[in-house]
Symmetry: C2
Subunit: 224 residues, 2 copies
Amino acid sequence: MPKALIFDVFGTCVDWRTSVAREVAAVLPQVDATAFAMAWRAEYDPAMARIRDGGRGYVPLDDLHRENLHRVAEAFGVTAPDDLSTAWERLDPWPDVVPGLRSMKADHIIAPCSNGSIALMTRLAKYGGMPWDCILGAELARDYKPKPAVYLACCTALRLDPGEVTMVAAHNGDLAAARETGLQTAFMPRVTEYGPEQTQDLGPTEDWDVIASDFKDLARKLHP
Amino acid sequence: MPKALIFDVFGTCVDWRTSVAREVAAVLPQVDATAFAMAWRAEYDPAMARIRDGGRGYVPLDDLHRENLHRVAEAFGVTAPDDLSTAWERLDPWPDVVPGLRSMKADHIIAPCSNGSIALMTRLAKYGGMPWDCILGAELARDYKPKPAVYLACCTALRLDPGEVTMVAAHNGDLAAARETGLQTAFMPRVTEYGPEQTQDLGPTEDWDVIASDFKDLARKLHP
């Protein structure tokens, strides 16, 4: 049994797509809000890639989100208010997440291992009621997943060996990197994270240590 | 009104003296457990001072506690089991702390700003039920209070200006350093932290921004 569970957040814990679209619709009624949200998210990985590759020093995701917002707004032919980037602090958890985390918290240390900053993860947890024991993730390593340094920084912060920690994600790529780094792995799918046309991560692509249907099922499977 | 409240922990939130004495008594029945706890705590500041002064690189408090344990055990003429140093993960909160923090959490981000590590603060919160929003403190700065870098690292991690954050402590020296760094300050006394003979920090020595009698009173005074 793992001593700590660390979680991917965007997609795995929270439904960023419909939540960001709701925030976009509220201030930019003239655009297709879901298309805008998807385009904004599409800028996420390229922005981090420059930092992972060493082409740019560490910049918290809050700032990347703001930079990306204005790039996407320009492509959509609109001007976005700067504080729309705080939309990423108001993302709804999937319905199984809070009850599942509450159960898992009774048996394990639970913490996010997200590319979001400490500030962003703290505000997101308060918004959605996610009962984390502490906030871990990219900011501790000043680098971005799937770089091994991020998973290792979470284990080091908890003073645990990687083998005592389980990474939980709805993304096979995140788990592959965590397994490569020595962590245990748990998968549960989010088949509408990218909407009804989603083609990726519909199921597990490797024999992850635990495979569950949702957070409540995961809590049952990880109960000692 | 501050946006976040950050808290000293040892003494302010938890009664380290009677809790450590209880843990010592359980494994070293031949020593005066309270005297042992006090002697162990007395090694705390000198051990951090070397790191603050640059004479030694950052070492988490967990390791300093273990080193200090063996030094104190030697002075008491006993051999201590290595894992007695985890006594610092099992310290009882003062009775007003958990209800007070629950109230304050509704209005503010709440986090420890302790010299304890992320791992230690996480386990201590789980042990005592302290409902932190995130774990901040010395480890983020890789230095020790009262160095300004520690208070500033907490503000930076929350993406807040120092003036938007209140440091809460039962120790005037901690608040003096926080005020010097630009934070707001709140004092409430713990007049038996060092036992019935305590002579220090029995009351506020400066005009701190908020002065309260305990955490419940503090929650009332900080309610927007």
